[in-house]
């Protein structure tokens, strides 16, 4: 049997766009750790949401059964993906929608640009969407002379602040109300100069700023939370009504959806609409969910498109161990319980997908060797809280360990065998083989204190040990070894001997 299949595309085909880190996680994290505002905002946000989540989850006696069902449904989607995609396409198309397929970020951007161009519109309104964030759509449209307006309040804050999202559910959580007011005052055309920092006032300012955009927009771009194969239905879950505005007012609607977002049947929604709002915002249900199947005559956009996006998803699917990362429904429960995310924030992950899920999803989609993404699987203490919180039971710690293994394997070919390790082991063997040897080495402790300096921390060790200190500080060694201290404190006064006769 030949190993070469004619016409079979090379596997895996990795993704591009906003998935790659540009610097290693340890370096980005070290910088972000110094941002007090970020850390205190994040601590407050993640703890508040996780408490709310626990409360509404506890209300459901069948939560674990729902998780089981959610996990199994997604497993069945992955196993049957080609057929489900074709079924979805057939049903969506039969009802007047048009389906486009995009191999990667660049192709998706080109398709969308072409669709917008065909309408003659110069601007579009946008519903918050991870997929369009991933492909860098706004930046691309800008270079093509098309203005894209984010309409979710948090995305608007991020966009006007020329910033990046730091959380997938509350992207502007790193900004406080005064910073938001300052951004609005500086960047929002026609804003009331007396704007206060009251959240209700700020939401009101966003409402009036976007109102005319909604009422006049001819083209909208959205993501999708679910695509239902059996009916050809798309669903968008949101809170503010900006989603409904974009999905129902314009003439043309372009939706971008990852190929993994399918559900087989309409009935499967009963599982996911129980899991998603409770896991993400800690609400029993989000204020608004919109569902549409192709075109509905007389109701909503009559020119309806869907761009199905691969961009590295097929590569993730090819990883037998990692493919369950594609079960993710983007609820953000994992980041809200993650001790690493809580301290570093989302920017440190350098990708559209931060937190524990990002630490596996990004390297799976780009390949572990891409740019700096090989540091992401180490951005975890493997405490397992993310696995417990995940509504579809993605075993994130297990996949993190699996990816660490892949990273080590991928380096093995490139690295010369480290003779330093052999030397270290030889040294240790000598040191621990006799008390005298160890005592001799302990005399060197003050040298270590000298190396630590005033901060009492050793930040860089040379050679092989540098890989340890890259992401950790080592406290200065104590002034004396335990053995020296014991000897000093316990000077034997007299030899202890067994004495009889003392009754």
């Amino acid at each position: 049997m030949s190993k070469v299949f004619i016409g079979m595309p090379p596997l895996p085909a990795f993704g591009s766009g906003n998935l790659n880190l540009t610097e290693p996680f340890p370096r980005a994290a070290a910088r972000e750790l110094g941002n007090q505002q970020l850390r205190s905002n994040l601590r407050h946000a993640t703890h508040t949401i996780r408490d709310k989540r626990l409360k509404v989850v506890a209300e459901l006696p069948d939560w674990e059964e729902l998780r089981d069902a959610g996990s199994a449904i997604k497993e069945s989607v992955m196993a049957d993906l080609p057929a489900l995609l074709e079924r979805f396409e057939a049903n969506f198309t039969a009802r007047g929608g048009k389906v486009h397929w995009a191999r990667d970020a660049a192709e998706a951007n080109a398709i969308i640009t072409e669709l917008v161009r065909a309408t003659g519109a110069q601007e579009v309104v946008k519903v918050k969407s991870m997929a369009t964030q991933e492909i860098g759509l706004n930046e691309h449209l800008e270079t093509e002379g098309i203005a894209a307006f984010e309409t979710d309040l948090a995305e608007l804050i991020v966009q006007l602040g020329h910033d990046k999202p730091s959380h997938i559910l509350v992207p502007a959580i790193h900004k406080n109300r005064t910073q938001v007011r300052d951004i609005f005052l500086a960047e929002m055309p026609g804003v009331d100069p007396d704007l206060t920092n009251d959240p209700a006032m700020l939401a009101g300012a966003a409402r009036s700023y976007l109102r005319s955009k909604f009422l006049t927009a001819r083209v909208a771009i959205s993501g999708a939370n679910f695509g239902i194969a059996d009916s050809g239905t798309l669903a968008v879950v949101e809170s503010e009504g900006n989603g409904r505005m974009c999905l129902t007012l314009p003439e043309t609607l372009i939706t971008v959806m990852g190929i993994e977002k399918l559900l087989p049947t309409f009935a499967d929604l009963e599982v996911f609409m129980a899991l998603l709002p409770r896991s993400s915002t800690g609400e029993r249900m989000n204020p608004y969910t919109s569902l549409w199947t192709g075109v509905t005559a007389g109701d909503g956009p009559q020119d309806v498109h869907l761009v199905l996006l691969d961009n590295g998803r097929s590569a993730a699917l090819a990883d037998e161990m990692g493919r369950s990362a594609l079960h993710c429904i983007r609820c953000s429960a994992c980041m809200n319980v993650c001790p690493v995310y809580e301290r570093t924030g989302g920017h440190a992950y350098g990708s559209t997908y931060p937190g524990p899920i990002g630490a596996i999803l990004s390297p799976l989609m780009t390949g572990i060797e891409a740019e700096e993404n090989n540091s992401l699987p180490y951005a975890s203490s493997l405490c397992g809280a993310c696995f417990d919180a995940c509504p579809v039971k993605i075993n994130i710690p297990e996949i993190l360990v699996h990816l660490r293994g892949k990273d080590v394997d991928s380096r093995r070919g490139r690295m010369k065998p480290p003779s330093q390790m052999d030397l270290l082991m030889k040294g240790a063997q000598w040191a621990f083989s006799s008390g005298t040897h160890l005592g001799l080495l302990e005399k060197g402790l003050p040298l270590g204190r000298l190396a630590a300096g005033r901060s009492k921390k050793i930040k860089h060790l040379p050679g092989l040990a540098a890989r340890w200190t890259d992401s950790r500080d080592i406290p200065a060694p104590p002034p004396a070894s335990f053995r020296d201290w014991w000897a000093k404190e316990h000077v034997p006064e007299a030899p202890i001997t067994q004495q009889g006769g003392e009754a």
Binding site: M8, A69, H100, W101, R103, P199, G232, E240, G241
Partner: protein
Amino acid sequence: MSAREEILARITGALADSPVARPVPRGYLRASDTSTARLIELLTDRLADYKAHVDVVASAGVPGILAGLLAGAESYVVPSGLPDDWFAHPALEADGAPRRLRDDVSCPLSVAELDRASAVITASAVSVAESGTIMLDGSPAQGRRVISLVPDHHVCLVPASSIVHILPEAVARLDGTRAMTWISGPSATSDIELERVEGVHGPRRLDVIIITDK
């Protein structure tokens, strides 16, 4: 090779190990025999939690409640399939009463007209008591999706017989191919310091009338 063919081939290649999914365990609750009285109580509680206002009345009381809710409104939108009987109240029929604007797929109001309207009255298809969710499916008494979105005040009629306890019961009653809106409270955001603000782009006020004998 087209993008479609190539992506499908990539996925097929990625599944070369032929994974077999386990059967989906449907051990979660899919039906409930909760009493109507309890469903009304639960739905009312959930909607109040979302800061929606709820009235529970028999159908004879609906016009009076509507007249009260629309007091001070200049105009309100109704979908063409909504029976006129609901508006049989002196305060809604006299001279100077708020103007009733009919919206129909064949004769839709413009967005500007919707934007100027003070309120909208719609029926609903199904409601889920457990999560406080009201589902609209675009039937003639519920109208186009946009009419319950643009006016700042939405009054929604919920027959007690259309209330179910849990989500699976509602999903079973719906036709998935209709354009749908599921509503759980008024428009809300928590994007600034997680402080909940009711009302951003959708209606800032949601009033629900639960009709006990329907």
